[in-house]
């Protein structure tokens, strides 16, 4: 499941980050701000009609991500870990 498909407000864990071929540097950028395997993540709020930007809490910090960025982050439900 990707971060753009999750339920609002539920807790997940990051399992991996897949950057698109054209922009491999985005993976590192997302990792720097905390999207690393095992991190706890929740989508707090979405824009109108479920589109971006998303307000995402990762670890203890909150970031605004675009839908395309959220799609790169693979998550699994919190209890499975």
């Amino acid at each position: 499941m990707n971060l753009d498909q999750v339920d609002l407000g539920s807790l997940y864990r990051v399992s991996e980050v897949n950057a698109p071929k054209g922009a491999p540097q985005i993976k590192g950028q997302l990792e720097d701000i905390g999207f690393l395997p095992g991190e706890q993540v929740a989508v707090l709020r979405k824009g109108l009609l479920g589109k971006g930007p998303y307000m995402v809490r990762v670890g203890a910090s909150t970031f605004a991500l675009r839908q395309s960025e959220a799609r790169m982050i693979v998550v699994e439900s919190y209890t499975n870990v």
């Binding site: 590192g28 701000i33 971006g52 930007p53 809490r57 909150t62 605004a64 675009r66 960025e69």
Partner: protein, 637 residues
């Protein structure tokens, strides 16, 4: 003006503050150094360098460097690259720091600790400071600093960036430190190279495992919900109320910028006029008096007069920034900005540009994406800066009748609003076109913007930042504008008119000749030769156009109310089509020379300023052409 390096106490130990953005690092820097700070540029790059001095109890002075906030030591933005270069000892004109203070937000240990691990690998002596402990305690978070110190193998101090004595523990530690032997604080190998830092990717996951282990050992491995921010966000980021609140807020800020600033602006204006009057009385007539009054004094006045507006606007921007609202405004606007290929991050520079494009262009440094930054710089001059207001005011009061439309809206105000709107829409259109024509690879722009917790702004920090903005504006712009105004004064004053000349002296000067040549270019858009001449000095600063018109029409330019005297002259002399065309011209008009100078500084070359100048000229010309011909066709000629 040169402002390359600041070496004002270079023999003293250098301590660098390193930390994530939003960890409270700058508040701590302000506590440590107070008013003894200097802001300059790193040589070769436009990232700001903040340095201050701390005097220890022993009387020893140390230099404290506030490094730009970084999420990692793998540089992605210009800011982060500077941080890395300083830590590696590669920053030009700067020694490698003797000590690094890693500032951690107690609220966000997880991400912050990864930066500490990366910093340790640099091999520099390191200490750790836990900041924001007060907030952490309030939220029931207990951090065992001794255990954390044990885990990291580094001393861990605590601080509270918002209390005036919040940095005492750090000051005491630094006082007791043996500065000649800092090796005890050195944990990594000392052969730090860029390759080691670049291998960050390889370290990222192992660092993360280590951080998770530390957090588990300290029993801090759970998320602390941020109830206050979440509750505020429920309102401020509400899909409907959020944008409504934002628009209301922006409206209030604009009101304040223009209404609060009137009094100080009038004061400055009369002070300059008084000074000019005094000089006129003391000095004999001639080119020297003209140089001082019409060149230097007018030039300085032209800059200083906008200071109140800029300070008021920055006061609000800094207030919103400190409180944590500004990134949220960018969040709310990301969809709109995204539709023309920009991101919400461009919002702040564009907002600043309404006071003056120069601070706006300087504010684009926070945009990490190079393409976004260039586009933002390119469109910033289309935001109606306050220098255009005197021109708008003159033309509107001369040509637009005072007339109430429906619901108490008056026509003059509506026209002014439309002029602002035209600038914004034009900027959006240009951004959209630039998005179409740049290659796919550069279109991949990320948002990834942190939304920090809300904080009560601290007045001390606000005052320090505001003072720095004022200083930067005056120093960077003052010199350039002064130079330009004096240059254009010379163009407008020499050569002197021949014996028995009947027109105003400017007609016979170089500026007059240039203006008359330009009149051929501008006649298709309805400008007469008087306007064309006034446009030449208007390039230095747009508000000069009004006084230049007064000069061309042979009114005494030192008369207090040049505009009032001009109104009857131009309203009988020009057609409405010409006036509308000139208004259209000023919506897009090629920006003043000081903006061009600022763009050259910020982009490091002439390419962008030349592109900017040419496209704005074309746009202004086309807009005026269309306006003039439609207006003429409607019988307004």
């Amino acid at each position: 003006m040169s402002e390359s390096k600041v070496h004002f106490f270079s023999s003293e130990p250098l301590v660098a503050l390193l930390g994530n953005p939003n960890c409270g690092k700058t508040a701590l820097f302000n506590l440590l150094t107070g008013s003894r700070q200097k802001v300059a540029n790193y040589s070769g790059v436009t990232v700001e360098r903040k340095e201050g001095r701390l005097t220890l109890e022993s009387g020893k002075n140390i230099r404290i460097l506030d490094l730009p906030g970084a999420y990692s030591l793998y540089p992605r933005s210009l800011d982060e690259r500077v941080t890395c270069n300083v830590l590696l000892g590669r920053a030009e004109g700067e020694k490698r720091p003797d000590l690094v203070i890693c500032v951690l937000s107690a609220m966000n240990l997880r991400r912050n600790l990864r930066l500490v691990l990366a910093a340790k690998r640099l091999g520099l002596p390191c200490i750790v400071v836990l900041n924001m402990l007060d907030i952490a305690k309030r939220q029931g978070l207990q951090i065992d600093t001794a255990a954390l110190s044990n885990e990291l193998g580094l001393p861990v101090l605590t601080s509270i960036g918002i209390q005036s004595d919040g940095a005492n523990e750090i000051k005491q530690f630094l006082s007791a430190l043996d500065w000649r032997n800092l090796n005890a604080l050195r944990t990594g190998t000392s052969d730090a190279t860029l390759e080691n830092v670049a291998s960050h990717i390889a370290h990222a996951e192992s660092d993360n495992v280590q951080v998770q282990r530390i957090l588990q050992n300290l029993k801090l491995d759970q998320i602390i919900p941020d109830h206050l921010s979440d509750r505020l966000d429920a309102v401020l980021l509400h899909p409907f109320f959020g944008p409504v609140i934002l628009v209301a807020l922006l409206f209030c800020i604009f009101q304040a910028v223009f209404s609060w600033a009137t009094v100080p602006m009038d004061l400055i204006k009369s002070a300059i006029e008084y000074l000019g009057g005094q000089i006129v009385e003391v000095l004999p007539g001639g080119w020297l008096r003209s140089l001082i009054v019409n060149g230097i004094l007018a030039g300085l006045g032209g800059v200083v007069i906008f200071l109140p507006q800029i300070l008021i606007l920055f006061f609000f921007i800094l207030l919103l920034e400190e409180s944590g609202y500004l990134p949220r405004a960018a969040y709310l606007l990301d969809r709109v900005m995204g539709s023309v290929g920009l991101s919400g991050r461009s919002f702040i520079p564009l907002l600043s540009s309404f006071a003056c494009a120069i601070p706006g262009i300087m504010a684009t440094r926070s945009i990490s994406n190079a393409r976004d930054r260039m586009v933002t710089i390119l469109i910033a001059p289309m935001m109606t800066c306050s220098a255009r207001l005197p021109v708008y005011a003159l033309l509107i009061s001369a040509f637009i009748p005072e007339q109430k439309l429906w619901a108490g809206i008056d026509l003059q105000g509506l026209v002014l609003f439309l002029l602002y709107l035209a600038g914004i829409l034009g900027a959006m259109a240009v951004a959209w076109i630039l998005q179409r024509i740049t290659s796919e690879q550069f279109r991949m722009n990320a948002l990834m913007m942190e939304l920090p917790s809300y904080h009560l702004p601290r007045l001390g920090n606000l005052a320090i930042s505001l003072w720095q903005r004022a200083e930067i504006f005056l120093r960077r712009v003052g010199g350039i504008i002064l130079l330009m105004t004096v240059g254009l004064w010379a163009l407008s004053s020499f050569p002197f008119p021949p014996e028995g000349a009947t027109g105003s002296p400017i007609q016979y000067s170089f500026a007059g000749m240039l203006g008359q040549a330009l009149a051929h270019v501008f006649s298709p858009i309805g400008f007469n030769w008087q306007i064309s001449i006034a446009l030449v000095p208007g390039m230095a600063a747009r508000e000069v156009v009004v006084s230049s018109l007064a000069t061309v029409y042979a009114l005494s330019s030192s008369s207090v109310d040049a505009a009032d005297a001009l109104i009857p002259l131009i309203s009988s002399g020009w057609s409405l089509a010409t006036a509308l065309s000139l208004l259209a011209w000023f919506v897009f008009a090629p920006q003043c020379l000081s903006t061009i100078a600022a763009v050259k500084r910020e982009t490091g070359g002439w390419k962008i300023p030349v592109i900017m100048l040419s496209y704005l000229f074309c746009l202004a010309y086309i807009a005026s052409f269309i306006t003039y011909h439609i207006a003429s066709a409607l019988g307004l000629g």
